[in-house]
Symmetry: C2
Subunit: 301 residues, 2 copies
């Protein structure tokens, strides 16, 4: 049977990085794309970039769509505006692209039932907004769905075919598995990197202990300057996501709080054990742990 | 007065990344470089790469040098072989390139007194060994010296001119300041990244709680596979140094134990405070902290 996205127009709500890229790829694959955006200026720019077949700020644009992709930021997925919900075609499959799945699934299954498919295409670049969409963004990238017991299998299949049409790698898992996974590999690194920045800042302002008088050379650097001057690419890499978008970091922690707390617990355990090895001078055991880490990392690349 | 490195040959002990690069740049600047290496195969390769004016495995090659750079790994700086110490010209300025300074300073001031200058050129690439040396490695990079009360000012000046000859940015500070700085920005990130790898590994093998049954779809991924499949460039960056050379990570922690423990303490404090904000749902305060981190990071780049 012909895929849902070929039989009917596909609605895309939001034309940022994910929505815009999806619109480009679906049209290139022969689909008809109807996009809803919030502001007229965005609509005009999206039209001139050709991000969708039709772009409007009127929710009625979604009429006739067989599948609607909610390509909205997480906070707007969790508090959707009523006009949008009202405008969704009553039979259409609805899916989203949010990076945390449990609260989105609860919210949208409540609104539209089993025709909602919670999804998460893992394709990011640093860019966002109507200029960000690009062809081929999803090629070979994971597109995760977290079906529940209530999810309509035909709806799930419709989204699977959509993901396949843009070259994504389809994965399914339980919603709690997804949310733990993103807590461990995406939300925890933000807090870990943030703490590293704060530690270097605090540590560079704390006076040195007794017997560690600063150099009395007039050219000697103060500690705060020194710490910053000596930071190399390793420090820059380790803190990249920790020094990233604060709004986004907060939203992730907030909407995935339970899984993030659990991930913080796993992390604290590992960190405390490493600290104890240094404290006790267990150098052989420390090297074993670091060797394990060296072996572990390639699987995460 | 003519710089020491111009008046007499410069000795370099070890022709790895730092020693080899220094040899290339000093010769290009008009200096005469006499290099001592451990193995004849290394000497041959170093000769054919032109890393020094003269390369030998015989410590006598250092005769007549006015300044000797110990471009050796930290463990060999801390336990120098006696033939090397005996072969150092009795009036020469001796300096090193080790990444931890307190134990090196203690060891070498004991051996040669105030003509030892503890130094640390911060110029690294991932490469090492006789093939690694490259021209221009030090250009614009920090070269830190940590003079003590016993350091001969003329010796310090001789090393400063050497660093200047290869385009490095000269900095001086107290030895305790240097060791705290590298603990915060270089050694701590190793342990932080290592704990993140262990946390993701452990967390991906720990069963989910009650009420979080895995998806029953036959295609559903197991959690360990999922966590690895979803890891993105942010995770890769945050764990790069944590998944690096275990030997080196252990050596850093071991030779800079006090400062690393102190840095772990600064980190634990920051991490615990962030964890408490998530635990208590203090989202405004968490955003403030992440905003501070976003402001802090550019100074470390």
């Amino acid at each position: 049977m012909t895929a849902l996205w070929r039989r009917h127009p596909v609605g895309i709500v939001g034309l940022g990085l994910i929505g815009g890229s999806l619109g480009l790829d679906l049209q290139a694959a022969g689909g008809v794309v109807k996009a809803l955006v919030h502001r007229e200026a965005t609509a005009e720019r999206a039209r001139s970039r050709g991000l969708a077949t039709e772009v409007s700020t009127d929710p009625a644009v979604l009429r006739g769509c067989g599948l609607v992709v909610l390509a909205l930021p997480l906070d707007r997925l969790l508090e959707p505006w009523p006009e949008l919900v009202a405008a969704l075609p009553p039979e259409a499959v609805i899916t989203d692209v949010g990076s945390v799945k449990q609260p989105v699934l609860a919210q949208w299954e409540g609104l539209v039932g089993g025709r909602f498919v919670a999804g998460h295409p893992m394709a990011g670049t640093a860019r966002s907004g109507v200029e960000a969409g690009e062809p081929g963004l999803f090629l070979g990238r994971p597109w995760v769905a977290t079906p529940s017991g209530a999810t309509d299998p035909a709806a799930l299949e419709g989204v699977r075919q959509l993901a396949g049409a843009v070259g994504a790698r389809w994965l399914t898992c339980a919603v709690a598995e997804h949310d733990r996974a993103v807590a461990l590999i995406s939300h925890l690194p933000v807090l870990v990197g943030a703490a590293l920045l704060q530690a270097a800042d605090r540590g560079s302002r704390e006076p040195l202990g007794q017997g560690a008088a600063p150099a009395d050379s007039p050219a000697a650097e103060d500690l705060a300057t020194l710490v910053r001057a000596l930071a190399s690419s390793g420090y820059a890499d380790t803190t990249r996501v920790g020094g990233g978008n604060p709004e986004l970091g907060t939203l992730m922690a907030r909407s995935n709080r339970e899984a993030v707390l659990e991930a913080l617990g796993f992390y604290r355990e590992a960190f405390t054990a490493l600290e104890a090895l240094v404290e006790q001078g267990e150098w052989g055991a420390l090297r074993n742990d670091l060797e394990e880490c060296q072996r572990l990392r390639p699987d995460f690349l």
